[in-house]
Structure formats: structure tokens, C-alpha cells
């Protein structure tokens, strides 16, 4: 499904990711854990194609198709989704207009007709209800005045509506209180499917109590320093990242 091989990423001339290899098979959810500054968000941005995150070496493919040569919007249309750690505020653009533009742009790139407006609205409303998102929020400008929890719920809503093939969740737990965390996690879990993969990036083990990963990887100094089962997350919670930082 999702394959990253020997990836090197530089930002402003400094190499942050230094030969990262990762394989997430279809149907699995993997966790990527690491201390601050280990390159977690850099990896997420580079995989989604953000400007100034320069891939200098290596490959990233989704179902065998190269991602790195594609524009961010083309990667999205292939089914890649990034849930942002810090969702951006866009005054003047409503949630409905944003989702409509996203859904129909992706459909267009895939050669499909736009989804009829009433159908799309119905879909958004149903998904919003499942996330316990107030229907009024759909009319508000994107992320403007949203609480931390609302922002992350809105990310989850976008994911639910767009139904990506592979999702990268960057620090989805930050800014969430425990109730919001549970709701977001339930909805992420509901999207787990035999054909879909996910990479959950987190600093803390807490999120993994709710989104149970199949595999856990430790990112330290730009490389995968260790991989294991869910028990690895518990070990990290107990013992911290020190030993990986020393070893790296």
C-alpha cells in the first residue's frame, strides 16, 4: 500500500529526514512516534508535497504509484490525506464551500462529474452528525474562532467526507480534551478498512489508547530507530525516547 524507501528530506538546506524507510500494508494503521524535533511533521509535509520540503533522495509510493513527482493536489486526488497538526484559518470561506471545492476538485482529477449539491450537503451533514459537529459550524469560515477540539474535529470531518485511501494524521491529539479525543478517535476507527491504510503521528501514547495501531515505529534523528507491536508505545511512555536518541 504505502511505501517509503530511503527518504531524505531537507528544509532550507538542512537535512531533517535522513534515510527513512517505512511500509504500511493496506488495512493497517501504524503509529509513528518521536520526540520533538525528530522530523515527524517534516515527514508529513514532505509526503504531501509542501513547498520548501525538498526530497533529495528516496521514493514514496501509494499502491506502486510514485507520489513525489506529483503536485499536492494530485497526491490528494490519488487518495492521500494529511490531517494537519495546525489547521489553517481561512476567513471568508465557509466549511461547506471548502468541502465542496475539495470533493469536486478530486472528482474532476479522477475524471468524475461533480457531486450534485444536495447529495454533497446530505453527505456533509451525516458525517458532521457522526462527529458531533454542530450543523451551524458548516456555515462558519474555516477554522476561524474554532477551539482546538473543533479544528481537529473539522479535520476528521474532511477525512470522513473525502474518504482517502491513505491518511497521515499529524498530532491529531494535540489540542483535544479527552471527550473530543474519544470522538475523533471513534471516527478515525470507523474509517479503518481492509483497503485503507493510516499513519498516526504522535508524541504521546495517549492517542494510541483510542486508535490501536498494528505497528509502532520510533522516529529519532530523521530515521526509524525501532519498530514493533503496540507494546512499543507503552515502553516509550514508560522509558521515554532517551535510549533512541543516544543510539541514533
Amino acid at each position: 500500500m504505502f511505501d517509503v524507501k530511503n527518504l531524505h528530506v531537507s528544509v532550507g538546506g538542512a537535512e531533517i529526514i535522513k534515510g527513512l524507510t517505512l511500509h504500511v500494508p493496506a488495512g493497517e494503521t501504524h503509529a509513528l512516534m518521536g520526540p520533538n524535533g525528530s522530523g515527524k511533521s517534516t515527514l508529513a509535509y514532505a509526503l504531501s508535497g509542501r513547498d520548501n520540503y525538498d526530497v533529495t533522495q528516496g521514493s514514496a509510493t501509494l499502491d506502486g504509484e510514485d507520489l513525489l513527482s506529483l503536485a499536492p493536489e494530485e497526491r490528494a486526488a490519488k487518495g492521500l490525506f494529511l490531517s494537519f497538526q495546525y489547521p489553517v484559518e481561512i476567513p471568508g470561506l465557509s466549511v461547506i464551500a471548502f468541502l465542496k471545492a475539495s470533493v469536486n476538485a478530486q472528482r474532476k482529477t479522477r475524471g468524475l462529474d461533480p457531486m450534485p449539491a444536495p447529495e454533497l450537503l446530505k453527505l456533509m451533514r451525516a458525517k458532521a452528525e457522526a462527529l458531533k459537529i454542530d450543523q451551524q459550524m458548516l456555515k462558519r469560515p474555516i477554522n476561524v474562532g474554532f477551539s482546538g477540539g473543533e479544528k481537529k474535529r473539522f479535520e476528521a470531518l474532511q477525512m470522513a467526507v473525502l474518504e482517502p485511501r491513505f491518511a497521515i494524521l499529524d498530532e491529531t491529539d494535540s489540542g483535544l480534551d479527552i471527550d473530543a479525543l474519544r470522538i475523533v478517535a471513534e471516527n478515525v476507527n470507523a474509517l479503518r478498512a481492509p483497503s485503507r491504510g493510516m499513519l498516526v503521528i504522535t508524541h504521546y501514547q495517549r492517542l494510541l489508547d483510542y486508535i490501536k495501531p498494528d505497528r509502532v515505529h520510533v522516529l529519532a534523528r530523521g530515521r526509524i530507530a525501532a519498530s514493533g507491536g503496540p507494546e512499543l508505545a507503552l515502553e516509550l511512555e514508560r522509558e521515554g525516547y532517551d535510549k533512541y536518541l543516544r543510539a541514533a
Binding site: 484559518e89 475539495s102 474532511q158
Partner: protein, 304 residues
């Protein structure tokens, strides 16, 4: 008026909009005078209003009393050198909502003087695609207690297009409110100008005035000039102002692209979102649609 009387950039009020240079030696023929136009010419001269003087001599000049509640759309294509003067007297508790659609190509000048009596309301929204030189001047004099002013606008200046929004609001009576939000974009070779002055007289206590101008430079070689001025001579007032000029938020652009929206469309949507914020909620739905339609069309390539 003759050409030598046209202000150039050495005249402070016209330093970003050099009318003499833009006119390039062409003034339309003078119109035969009438007592009304003579009186308006004298009025304009007394106010130091160049556009008004030009309008009285070469263009269209009129005076109106506004009684009751009115809505007006000021538009109509101006060919060549166009100058208009409107002097509006909004009587006690009367309301005027006015939408200006500026779409001349050459020299397109409009000057409006508004006098507001007690409890009168004046709401104006300008949409401008600029011209060789377009300038819309609005001078509002709040003379009665509790009058309300809204002066919003959007300018979109493509290559070799110049739009200038100049306004002066004088609070001469207590308890008045002014709301001004102007947003604009300039492409390469385009120029936007915002000059907004708000004056609060010593006895105009409890005045509540807010003025914001936000410009967005779409490309290198775009120009936006802003001169906001707040002159407050009263002590019990609420006044706020803000002025910014910058580029498109690259983080927002990436956010949209990461959701599958191609770059050109993402830019258009973001700029549209930026501009439509200045369109007042209170406008009639059909007019709103017309205005958002114009913004959308301009952003998607239908630039003059």
C-alpha cells in the same frame, strides 16, 4: 477647467494618482452652463474638489435630497474622460444604500458629498476594476446626532489599471458611527490606492468609528498605497483602525491543495474569500450575487 489645473503627483491629495499625467492632454468639451451647474461648480471650488469642478464643467453634476429609504446602484459605462459629482442631503432619519460599480476604461472620476442629518444612515459599497485612472471620492459630513455611515469597497486592479478610493468622514455631531472596510488586490502592473480620513470634532462625543483597509499584492510588480488618517479631537470616543498589505497566505494555499484543489483554483477561492468579506451582509441578495459574480469572474481570468 483646463489641463494645467489638473492636479499632478506633487499635489498631496493626488500624490498616488497623477491625474494630469493620466489625462494625457485630453479634456472633454465643456458643457453649456446652467444656474444649477454654476452653483455646483462654486460648491466644488469652495470644497477644493477637483473632480467636482471637472464634473460641473465637463461631466455630470447633480444635487439630491434623500427622504425616506432608498437604494441606488451607480454604474453605467463611462467612455473616455468621465467625471461625475453628486451632492446628497440625507434628511433626518432617512436612509440611503448605494452600490457603485466602477467600470470605465480611461479616466473615471466620481466625487460624492453626503450630508447626514440626525439619525440618517448612509451605506456605500464600491466595486472597482480600476481604469487608466479611476478615483472615487466620498466625503461625508455627519451633522446630526446618531447618524450612521458604512463605507465599504473592493478594488481589483489588473495590469495598467489604477483604482483610488479616497474618503473623508467628518463627525461633527455626537453619537455617530462609521464602519469602513476596504479590501483590494493588485496584479502585476496594477495599482490600488486607499486614502481614508476620519475626523472627530471636539463636541462629537460618543463617536464610534472603525476603519480597515487590507490590500493583497498578487504578484511582484503590483502596487498598493494606503494613507489612513484618524484625527480625533474628542475624548469620549471609540475609534479603531487597521491597515495591512501583503501576499496570499501560503499556508492556506497548501491547505487547499492538500485537499485536492488545484493551485490556480485554490488561489482564486482564497482571494475571493478575502475580498467578499468586505461586501456588507445587509445588501440585497441579487446585488450580492452580482458583486460576488464580478469578483469570481475577475479572478478566473475575465480581467479588463
Amino acid at each position: 477647467m483646463n489641463l494645467a489645473e489638473l492636479p499632478n503627483r506633487r499635489v498631496e491629495a493626488w500624490k498616488y494618482s497623477d491625474l494630469r499625467a493620466a489625462a494625457g492632454g485630453a479634456l472633454p468639451p465643456a458643457r453649456p452652463s446652467s444656474p444649477e451647474r454654476e452653483s455646483l461648480a462654486a460648491f466644488a471650488r469652495e470644497k477644493g474638489d477637483v473632480i467636482g469642478m471637472l464634473a460641473a464643467a465637463h461631466g455630470r453634476a447633480e444635487r439630491q435630497n434623500i427622504v425616506g429609504k432608498h437604494e441606488a446602484v451607480v454604474g453605467g459605462r463611462v467612455d473616455g474622460f468621465g467625471a461625475r459629482l453628486e451632492v446628497l442631503n440625507v434628511v433626518r432619519n432617512a436612509e440611503l444604500t448605494r452600490v457603485i460599480i466602477q467600470n470605465g476604461d480611461d479616466i473615471d472620476l466620481l466625487s460624492t458629498h453626503v450630508r447626514l442629518a440626525e439619525g440618517a444612515k448612509f451605506r456605500q459599497f464600491i466595486i472597482s476594476e480600476g481604469a487608466k485612472l479611476a478615483r472615487i471620492e466620498t466625503r461625508v459630513s455627519i451633522e446630526g446626532e446618531g447618524a450612521e455611515v458604512e463605507l465599504n469597497g473592493v478594488y481589483m486592479c489588473g495590469e495598467r489599471r489604477h483604482a483610488d478610493f479616497t474618503s473623508v468622514v467628518e463627525h461633527k455631531a455626537p453619537g455617530g458611527t462609521t464602519r469602513q472596510l476596504v479590501k483590494g488586490v493588485a496584479a502585476k502592473g496594477g495599482r490600488g490606492v486607499f486614502q481614508g480620513k476620519i475626523v472627530v470634532a471636539p463636541h462629537a462625543q460618543k463617536t464610534d468609528a472603525r476603519q480597515y483597509h487590507h490590500g493583497m499584492l498578487l504578484e511582484d510588480g503590483a502596487e498598493i498605497y494606503a494613507k489612513p488618517e484618524l484625527m480625533i479631537h474628542a475624548d469620549d470616543v471609540q475609534c479603531a483602525h487597521g491597515n495591512t498589505a501583503g501576499g496570499l497566505d501560503e499556508r492556506a494555499l497548501f491547505y487547499m491543495r492538500a485537499r485536492g484543489v488545484p493551485e490556480a483554483e485554490a488561489r482564486a477561492l482564497l482571494i475571493e474569500a478575502f475580498l467578499v468579506e468586505a461586501i456588507p451582509d445587509g445588501l440585497d441578495a441579487a446585488i450580492r450575487d452580482e458583486l460576488t459574480g464580478r469578483i469570481g469572474a475577475w479572478l478566473r481570468g475575465a480581467r479588463p
